[in-house]
């Protein structure tokens, strides 16, 4: 789920710096996941779109390319005026993928 070589490349091979980037991501990601859950519960598509957009770039930096692709699709799905079919499922799937990736990143940061 996570390609840690991406974050290492971003940190120009400096593992300590890469870990500081990962920690910065881990510190900020939980409130965004909470926001995603609440937005789904409140059927707030606009907020899902904004949160998915923000998480998408962060996921790319952290080497979570499949998560980033899913978040991009979620962002597009949530872009409509109403609550489209499949948005709830897609949001839950994004949250599950993010949680798995976060677990892998925690292992990388602690190893």
């Amino acid at each position: 789920m996570v390609n840690t070589s991406t974050v290492l490349q971003l940190a120009r091979g400096d593992r300590e710096r890469a870990v500081s980037y990962v920690n910065a991501f881990l510190n900020g990601v939980e409130p965004q996941l909470t926001l995603l859950r609440e937005s789904e519960a409140n059927r707030d598509a606009a907020q899902i779109k904004r949160t998915a957009h923000s998480l998408k770039s962060q996921a790319r930096y952290m080497g979570m390319s499949s998560v980033a692709s899913h978040l991009e699709r979620l962002e597009q799905l949530a872009a409509g005026e109403s609550w489209p079919d499949g948005l709830s499922e897609s949001t839950h799937e994004a949250i599950d993928m993010m949680e798995k990736a976060i677990g892998e990143l925690r292992q990388f940061a602690e190893s």
Binding site: T6, L10, Y21, A24, F25, S57, R60
Partner: protein, 195 residues
Amino acid sequence: MGNSGNLPNPDKRNQTAQMKNLLIFLVDDDAMQNQMLRDHLASELDDATIEVMETGERCLAQLERKPDVVVLDYNLSSRQSSALNGLQVLEEIRIKHPSAEVIMLSGQDKLDVAVEIMKNGAFDYVVKSETAFLRVTSSIRKVMASRKLKRQLAATKRLVGFVIAGFVAIVAFCLIVWFFIPEWIPERRIRLGLD
């Protein structure tokens, strides 16, 4: 032998001189992005002052400090829909401080977005990806190289102007002497019967 690794790198030294007193604004509502990019640029660009701002409104309020480069997020209204977006901020920068170069960062890899941004006067458009920081650094170096060339061109123009003015002054002096002070020129003195 073997101590060449400790010698200063001339390229790096030139870049350092080039980056002296460079003021960069990083404008993004994503704190993680700001922290990572600031860290990256600080390690790549010696003597650059990097200021982080989370809104376009704050960037515009600080424009009087005359930043050299503004690295601006395209989607600044992602967390607060009423906030100015990157394109609006770019337009304001072009009006209020046109000499600042704007590098637009975007999560969208779309050609029409890139075209719109470049049409509005951005120096470069960089997609947020694993190579984004390298591209931003490279873009900032291009800005500085371009400014250095402009400074050299202006200095050359001044020099050429000075040489032309000097030449004109000498010719004018010779003509004045020839027509109005003929006694200074022996041949003229003879011809005019002054001797």
